[in-house]
Structure formats: C-alpha cells, structure tokens
C-alpha cells in the first residue's frame, strides 16, 4: 500500500475509526441492472443543478423593482422591466458561459424530475417499495413534490411574461383553498397579487429552503438504501438473503462516477445546443398582457391539463365558495401525492403481506399491481396531453370543443382500457421466467425412412452469461471474516499486486495474519488459488505480477 495513503488512513483512523466502515464499504456489493441507473440520473442532475444554480445566483437579482432596460439585448432597450428580468437577460447575453449555465440549469431541472418519475415507476412496478423499504418510498414521494415545487418556483424567477402568468395562476390556486386560501395567498405574496415580495421570497425558497430540504432527504434516502442494500431481480443464486452483483471498489465506483460525467455531458450538450426558455422572446411580465399557446415545463403539464378539462363547476353555499380551481389544482394533487406516499401501506392492507422482500417482482408476475399502475399512469398521461388542447386544435384544425370533449372521454375511458390490456398481457406472460433467454437448441433428424426425431441438446449456458460463474464472496471480505472469526489455520497467502513495503507480511507465506495497518498491500494477501489468475482485481496486473513472482 502506498505510504501516504497509509499515513492518512492511520491519522484518520486513530481519530475517527474509519477503517472498519470503509473496509466494508469498499467490499459492498451492488446488484447490476440498467433500471438501477434511473435514480442515479436524478441524483447526478441534482448535482448539476447545484453547480449551475450557484453560478446563476452570483448574477441573478431577485427584485421586482422596475427599471429601464439598457442591456445588450437591443430589441428590449428602453422598456420598463423588473431587475429580475434584466439580470436574467444579463446572464444570458453578457455573462461568460451565462447562457449555457442558465440553459443547463433549466434542462437539468427537467431531467431531474423526469428521472425521479421514471425511477418511481421502476420502484413501483417491481414492488421494491415493500417491507422494509416503505420509509424510502415516502421520502422519495416527498422528494418528487419538492422537486416539482422548486422547478415551478425556479421557472418563475426570471419574471418573464409566461412565468408571470404562471405565478398569477398559482396565486389563484392558493386562494381557492377552503377556509385558509386567501390568507395563505396573502401571506406568501405579502398582500394582494402581484405585490413586490413574491420574487425575493421565491428566490429564498428556491435557492435555500427547498434545496436544503432536498439535500437532507436525499442523504436519508441514500443512507437508508445503503443500509438496507439494493433490491435485486430474481435469478439463479439470488435469494432474499443475499446480494449478487459487482463490488463497489473499484468496479461500481468507476461505473457510477463515470456515469455522473455522462449525465453532466448530456445536460451540457442540451444546455449549449438546445434552446430552452428564451425569455427575451416572451418579454417582461406585465399583468395585463398574456401570450398564447403557453405551455409550462413538462412536469406541470398534468395540472395544467386538469385545470383545462375540469367542467366549469363551483360550489357555492352557506355564504362560502369552493372555487373551480380547487378541484383540479388542489384536491387532485393532494389526493395524488397522499395516495402515492401511502401506497406501500395501501397495498399491504390489500395483500396482507408482511414479509421482507429483497427480490423485485417482475412486473408481469404481479398482474394486478402492474395493470393498476398502468391504468393510473395513463390517467396522468392523458392529463398531460390535455395541457395542449389549444395547440392540438390549431394543429389539426378542429374545434376546441371537440378536442376538449375527446380528452374528457379519454380521461375516463383510457385508464381502464389500458389497465385491462395490461392485465391480459401480464396474464399471458406470467411465470415465463425464461422469457427472452436462449432456449436449448433442439436437433431434429430425419431418418432414411423419413421418420423425424428430435433431441434437446443439453448445451452449456452461453459463455457470456454471468450466471456461468458461481457468485463469489469478495475474497478480501471473506478472508477478513475468516480471520475475524479466528479459524485462520490453513491459510496460504501470496503477494497479490505489489511487493510489500516494510511491514512483516510481505513474504509469500504467512502465518497468523492479523489485520494490522502497517505495511503490505492491504490488510492481508489474497489466497494463492485466486492470485494465480492475477488476483481478483488484477486481470491486467497478472502479467506484471507473474513476472514478479518468478523473480522472487
């Protein structure tokens, strides 16, 4: 082991006792599956949000003070705009890399929330929320809400015509809450709409309050996941009581770390090359102006759609009113997020299942949950598309009325149909464990008499299949446990990857290894049987090492 690493470890370990925990972390096993990347995308785009957001906050001015614009965007010169709007233009046109950062921030926000939603779907459809992971499901649901709210608030900060209209609608939605609505709206906005407080307040909420909450919840989310260990998909050798996959150090660390850069790269490409939210085209917010064919960011689409599809009802009585917007914009999301966060408990009520589940369901193996999920998802997808009724009516040159009614009918009819179709499909494929795998070939022979006979070839599994190999314990971990247990008799150790530096375990053969910290290439050496192939982590090392061995 490198002397300096060792010294640092010593220093830290004597003060914090980190070696033990760090050892088990390095040896931690992560199941491999593409669907486990979805949560990672969310995490990485959040990190991009933090970086780009801090950059933006150095230049953005959260103020609705009206000034005359004199900046570098000529078409707006001389117009009265808010400082918030002017500073966003400044970021876009005059700050070096400002536009890229702004667009990256916006793209990252969209990707962040999309990744959360898809991640949520994976967890839902595989039943990964079941005991013991209910707490993380709830935390995840709260993270989704916070992300959506922060996205909306961030979208509002530039104070352009489109986002300003969004703020106006948000005020009306708050106002529509029974009993306390007008108070809530007045307290948030510092008085009647629009006032001058909302931009500075949104700013504090956007850059401090919600990000802090997200960071805290994210830490809890990941900490719990780490502690409980990942779920894994059913496969031979995988049981409810083990984890099969790659090891954190170095494989998973490289793959996950690299993936952060890939996520950031895609966001950077979008931020640099694909325009998003060109606020200079929308113009500054003016309360009596409005632009047409306005669509919010995608994650607000379902609420916008719900506002559009809602019939023009309003409840009036006993001197009070429950306004129209309450139903689609307060009640619907309220029910949605309540049901979402409580889903593990709702399902448990129905299934009475109180077992610990570490193996994911294959979606087709749980037709009931899968079809319900697809039905519900369809509902929100219809709402999402309903947010463009006007665009659709224009594009297809039909009446708004027709489009609206089509969507109202689809909203009611499509979810059950989608659910039913899914149910039939899952029933068809239920239990097909070997679906998608290569079947053993059948050799059909025709005899001279024209008689056919078939033989199933008992072929070995394909070479690339991971299941060809018996899953191993990480050798170092196994060794550690054996030593810790004390039955370290027939150990035979060999220099694994480096000649030892000082210390007393540098030789080929060893007696009584104790987990000492000084010298050697680690706590102990890897058994010969393994090292013969170059050490478990040393495919490429083996030649060098073999050379060394012969030199010895």
């Amino acid at each position: 082991m490198n002397k300096r690493v060792e010294k640092t470890t010593d220093w830290l370990d004597e003060r914090l006792g980190i070696a033990k925990g760090a050892r088990s972390s390095l040896n931690k096993i992560f199941p491999d599956h593409w669907s486990f990347m979805l949560g990672e995308i969310a995490l990485y785009s959040f990190i991009v949000l933090l970086f780009t957001g801090v950059f933006l906050s150095l230049f953005y001015i959260p103020s609705s003070q009206q000034i005359i614009y004199h900046g570098s965007y000529a078409p707006l010169r001389g117009q009265s705009v808010s400082e918030a709007y002017a500073s966003t233009l400044h970021i876009s046109f005059s700050v070096r890399a400002g536009l890229v950062m702004r667009q990256m921030h916006h793209w990252a926000a969209n990707i962040f929330i999309a990744a959360i939603v898809v991640h949520l779907c994976r967890v839902f459809f595989t039943g990964s929320f079941r005991k013991p992971r209910e707490i993380n499901w709830i935390i995840g649901s709260i993270l989704l809400i916070l992300a959506i709210v922060n996205g909306f608030i961030g979208y509002s900060l530039p104070d352009d015509l489109i986002s300003g209209t969004g703020i106006r609608i948000a005020f009306s939605i708050l106002e529509s809450i029974p009993l306390v609505g007008s108070y809530l709206a007045f307290f948030l906005f510092g008085g009647n709409y629009p006032g001058t407080s909302i931009i500075p307040r949104f700013y504090t909420i956007h850059v401090l309050l919600i990000p802090a909450l997200i960071v805290a919840l994210l830490a809890a989310h990941l900490g719990i996941m780490y502690h409980q260990k990942h779920t894994q998909y059913p496969a031979p050798k995988r049981t409810n009581k083990n984890v099969v996959g790659t090891v954190l150090w170095p494989t998973y660390a490289l793959e996950a770390g690299g993936f952060f850069f890939i996520t950031a790269a895609v966001i950077a490409a979008l931020g640099g090359l694909v325009q998003i939210n060109p606020i200079w085209l929308y113009g500054p917010y003016v309360p009596y102006k409005v632009s047409y064919a306005v669509q919010p960011d995608w994650y607000m689409g379902w609420l916008d759609g719900a506002l559009r599809l809602m019939p023009s009802w309003e409840i009036v009585g006993f001197g009070h009113m429950i306004p129209n917007a309450f139903f689609p914009a307060v009640l619907l999301p309220g029910l949605t997020f309540t049901a979402l966060s409580l889903w593990p408990f709702i399902e448990k009520k129905i299934t009475k299942d109180d077992q610990v589940h570490n193996i994911c369901d294959r979606p087709r193996d749980n037709p009931w949950r899968t079809s319900l999920g697809v039905g519900i998802l369809t509902f929100y997808i219809v709402l999402f598309f309903a947010s463009s009724t006007d665009v659709l009516a224009n594009t297809f040159n039909t009446s708004l009325n027709l489009v609206l009614w089509t969507f109202r009918i689809l909203l009611v009819a499509l979810p059950p149909v989608a659910g039913y179709v899914t149910y039939m499909l899952t029933k068809e494929t239920e239990g097909l464990d070997d679906a998608g795998l290569r079947r053993a070939p059948v050799i059909i022979t025709r005899s001279k008499d024209g008689e056919y006979s078939s033989v199933v070839v008992d072929e070995e599994p394909p070479l690339h299949s991971r299941t060809r190999f018996e899953p191993q314990e990480v050798p170092e971990e196994k060794e550690y446990r054996r030593v810790a247990r004390g039955d370290d008799n027939e150990r035979e150790l060999v220099g694994a990857s480096e000649p030892s530096v000082g210390g007393d375990n540098g030789g080929v053969h060893h007696e009584g290894i104790e987990p000492h910290r000084s010298g050697g290439s680690g706590i102990f050496r890897v058994p010969r049987s393994v090292a013969g192939g170059g050490g478990p982590f040393g495919g490429r090392d083996s030649r060098r090492q073999r050379r060394r061995n012969t030199q010895e």
Binding site: S182, F186, G258
Partner: protein, 300 residues
C-alpha cells in the same frame, strides 16, 4: 494479450468481459486525451469571450470523454464477479430490543413521576411556538380583509388607456377592443378592464344593466374568473372573449357569461357612461369581487 485471460472453466472469476483489454485501454486513454483537448478548447473559448454553442459542445466532449472512459474502465477492465454478499437481518436481536426497552423505561419512569412538570413544559413550549408563529405569519403579509372585494374603480373615474390618456367615445371602431385602467392606476393588476365595442348603439347585456353599455361600449374585468389570467383575445366574429390560459370563452353580448371551458362565472361588468366631453367614465365600481373565487365569497 490472451495470456492474461484465464479461460479455463475452473477459474473463479469472469474475465471474459475483459477480452481485448489492451485495445480497450488505448481507447479509454484516447477518450481522456480528447476530453483534455476539449477542456483546453473551452479555456480558449472563454478567453476569447465565449460562444454558447461552442461552449456547450466542448463541455459535452470534455465531460463525455471522462464519463465514457471511466465507465468503460469499470465495465471492461475490472472484474464483475459476480460477487455475493449476505444480507444481515435488519431487525435487532430480541436481547437488544429488550435492553432498549429497559433503558427507555428507566427514563420514562423517572420522568413519569413528575407528570405535572411534563404538562407544564408542554404548555409553555406550545404557547411559545404559537406566539412565534402568529407574529411571523402576520408579518409575512396583511390579512385579506376587504381587499379581494375592492378595486380602484369608483363613481366617475375616467377610463384611461395603457399610455394614460383618457378613452373617448370615438376611440374604438365597432368590433374594436382595448385594455383600460382607472385614471391613475395604469398597469394595476386588479383594475384591468377590457373594453369592447360590438355595436354603436346602447347595449343591454342583462336586465338591470340598461345603462351600462353606452354607444355599444361594454367594459368587463379582464381578470379571468377561472384562475386569474388576463382575458386577452376578442373574437369579433363570435362576439366572444377568450382566455388563453385554459381556453374559457365568454359571450360578450350576454354579459361575458362563460360558454366554454372551466371558467365558472361571468366576467364582472363595469357600468360606464359617456360624460359631456365624450370621455368614458365608470358609473361605480364593480358590484361583485373580480377574478377567481375564494372561500369567503358566498352568494352575493
């Protein structure tokens, strides 16, 4: 290269994914170099003043080079096992649980002996919290009071255009539309009024509003009764006002009653008159709250 690969089936590790490791190594090295070059290019771009598309492209290459390289390193040049690890049971042992209860009980018993103190503490803390909360909430904003019911329209106020000049009876052609404000409050969100002129004779939108539409001028609050957007578009052909936010349509001739979309109530109509100088003025304020609904608002 092949000597590195233990291919026998007896081998405990799957190196098969590492075939061609030398090529792979070169490939990854090349990626890192490409990334480095892109980073240098990025520096030059910044130095020269920056250009969004070039910055984006170079950032992409710089980050992607590192990302793909590192992932490939992990994927092709490190063993994938598969490795296995036991899951320890999350649940503590019965002994641990018992011991926990005992320790907890030690405290609760001692505290329980002085339950009166506990209650007092609860009351004090609760009062403290509440009393912090109220001033805090109150300083966030004024209570709504009557402010949702009033606008700056009163008897005799001049209608002015966006530039502040008064609206006279000749300002709109038949079929015309404009946004107006009470004199002195141009741009005020709650005061915005859409003035339309569907005809040039007195228009009566509803019984009781016989004198509200002089010379065909009709004035409605421009704040949508659905969610507050400005009702921006006047379709002359159908005599309808359209709110672009959720496509509510209001029929002008019947007093801006909603005929389509989610808006539940007509746009409040502002009674106006033409004074002796031909200037449009309001007869009074609105006779109902403008804009979207709220709880306190009952059946007026």
């Amino acid at each position: 290269m092949s000597e590195v690969m233990p291919t026998s089936r007896g081998s405990e590790y799957d190196y098969s994914s590492m075939t061609g490791s030398r090529t792979m190594e070169r490939f990854i090295g090349a990626l890192f170099v490409v990334s480095l070059l892109a980073t240098i290019g990025l520096g030059v771009t910044f130095w020269l003043g920056g250009q969004p598309q070039i910055e984006g492209a170079l950032l992409f290459i710089a980050l992607l080079g590192i990302g793909v390289g590192v992932v490939a390193w992990g994927k092709y040049l490190t063993p994938h096992g598969p490795f296995v690890q036991e899951r320890e049971e999350l649940k503590s042992s019965d002994l641990d649980r018992e011991a926990f209860y005992k320790s907890l009980e030690r405290g609760t018993k001692i505290l329980g002996r002085r339950s009166f103190l506990g209650k007092m503490l609860g009351v004090s803390l609760g009062a403290f919290g509440l009393l912090q909360l109220f001033p805090f909430l109150r300083s966030l904003g004024p209570v709504p009071g009557k402010s949702l019911y009033v606008t700056d329209w009163h008897k005799g106020v001049q209608l002015v255009k966006v530039d502040g000049s008064p609206v006279t009876v000749n300002d709109l052609e038949v079929g015309g539309v404009m946004t107006v404000f009470p004199d002195g409050f141009v741009g005020n969100a709650v005061d915005q009024v859409v003035l339309v002129r569907p005809a040039n004779y007195n228009l009566v939108t509803r019984p009781g509003r016989e004198s509200w539409g002089p010379q065909g001028y009709l004035a409605f609050s421009k704040v949508c009764t659905h969610a507050g957007c400005p009702v921006g578009l006047y379709q002359e052909l159908t005599q309808q006002l359209l709110c672009p936010c959720h496509q509510s349509l209001f029929d002008v001739l019947t007093g801006a009653t909603p005929v389509f979309g989610p808006a539940p109530r007509p746009l409040p109509q502002l009674p106006i008159y033409v004074d002796s100088d031909g200037v449009l003025r309001s007869q009074s304020g609105f006779n109902e709250p403008i804009g979207p609904g709220f709880w306190e608002r009952g059946n007026e």
